[in-house]
Symmetry: C2
Subunit: 280 residues, 2 copies
């Protein structure tokens, strides 16, 4: 594994326009792959849009992992001039018995490699979706081991630590960040959290936000790629791509000095009794 | 509980000068309390210095929690014009059978309230100290519930989450941050980690770094106080105090929206099987 080129495609999905969102996302993946991307990250719910008004609307936009959009992403990934590209994108999923999930797919030239159902639902997502019942996977791909998280998931260090311990070189984070207040000159708080998760775990993090406004909701539009040392190495303006070449291999060595190790120094003997604790 | 004034006294302890370090630390606490500090945080190992050359040197500087320095801090805390002040400072501890620890004491007008022995030893600290066998306490004081962490501890989200779940309003972090490389314009990585821990847990964090150089070791000298929203509200230059007035009560409400809650949204059902996992 050498340098891996990661691109976040900060699109503006249109609520309700499934066919158009499929086209726009596939076109973005094609462009990114043509520019050498080994990993392409798309926003959360890129097929459907985000600000739903009813369960019926969500149901009408939900798709299964057999939908044609994944074949489109897969075909685009197959055009890689390298060893193959990998696409991670969010979608509105219809599962068994019509249950709805806020999901992300990991797709490569061979097709859908994994589907993850968001385990930490944000705010009104709880009105539409069922939370997933499994922590996210780490998928071993030709370009490295890719973990997945969706938006609010990132704010739970239990989840990012899980991905790191499961061997993730990179966490791909499809996201829709609602714009929140922050002091002048500060990065969005979600980016600070991504930086800390990367630094602590020596694991790159690529957050693909969305652009535009939707039914009055303003988005942060701050896609950011963070290195294994925890520094932002690419950010994007609205409707732009953010691209960075990452040395993911460096993150596999968790040593910080000859006598310090980010994983080896964990006090698993002490955590066991407390971290699973149920609080009110 | 109303606004709480927190002061970090970024001192320059002198290696080997126990008597002088006692005087300097007590004087700093007196000054901070005179300026209205409800909580005073001192650096890690403020009684001894940090860059040791041998176990014998550490042994010669180690003190018990009955040492006069704590009476000095306690007397200074008793001068508070408010309801009473609390001091958290690092010291080189001699425990039972002469075992050495990198510890921190929580002291108020009544004396030593708690001693915490650092559980995550950094680098060469492993040559001198035994790691503590208990996660840090949260001490219920007249000014709020104060959790303790020492330097490298902060880089383990298991520990900061533990403190948050145990009810900490504020984490006091005596620290000695060795200067590390960072991109121009960036904060020290430890500060980014403190910001994320604060934001994720809605819990203030006050890191008291040290100043000066010691046996060739340069320190970051970047004491920082972070609000419950995760923003730095005070930082200090070398040999200065950093002071902030914090609304700690705000952090007791973990709701982020009517339908989102930083603690309530944790998926304890999923973490239990993974976070205690032992990895190589």
């Amino acid at each position: 594994m050498t340098t891996v080129r990661v691109t976040c495609c900060q699109l503006s999905p249109r609520i309700g326009d499934l066919a158009g969102n499929v086209e726009r996302s596939a076109a973005a993946v094609r462009t990114a792959v043509a520019r050498g991307a080994d990993v392409v990250v798309l926003p959360e719910l890129v097929t459907s849009g985000y600000v739903f008004e009813s369960v019926d609307e969500v149901t009408g936009l939900a798709i299964t992992s057999a939908h044609a959009v994944f074949e489109r992403w897969s075909s685009a990934a197959a055009q890689s001039r390298g060893s193959g590209s990998v696409v991670i994108g969010g979608f509105c999923e219809r599962g068994d018995a019509g249950v709805l999930y806020n999901s992300a797919a990991v797709v490569d030239a061979s097709g859908v490699r994994a589907v993850y159902r968001k385990t930490h639902l944000w705010d009104r997502e709880k009105l539409w979706f069922r939370a997933g019942d499994t922590l996210p996977p780490v998928v071993d791909t030709v370009v490295g081991r890719i973990g997945v998280a969706i938006c609010y998931d990132l704010e739970f260090p239990e989840l990012t630590r899980h991905l790191a311990l499961a061997g993730a070189d990179l966490v791909a984070v499809p996201t829709n960040w609602p714009l929140v207040a922050r002091p002048a000159g500060e990065r969005p708080p979600e980016v600070v959290i991504a930086m800390a998760a990367a630094r602590i775990n020596r694991m790159a993090v690529a957050c693909c936000d969305r652009a535009g406004t939707e039914r009055g909701q303003e988005w942060t539009s701050a896609s950011t790629i963070v290195s294994v040392e925890g520094w932002p190495v690419a950010t994007s303006s609205p409707d732009q791509m953010a691209t960075a070449d990452l040395d993911l291999a460096a993150g596999r060595d968790k040593r910080l000095t000859d006598l310090a190790d980010a994983f080896g120094d964990r006090r698993v003997d002490l955590y066991a009794s407390t971290v699973g604790r149920v609080d009110g």
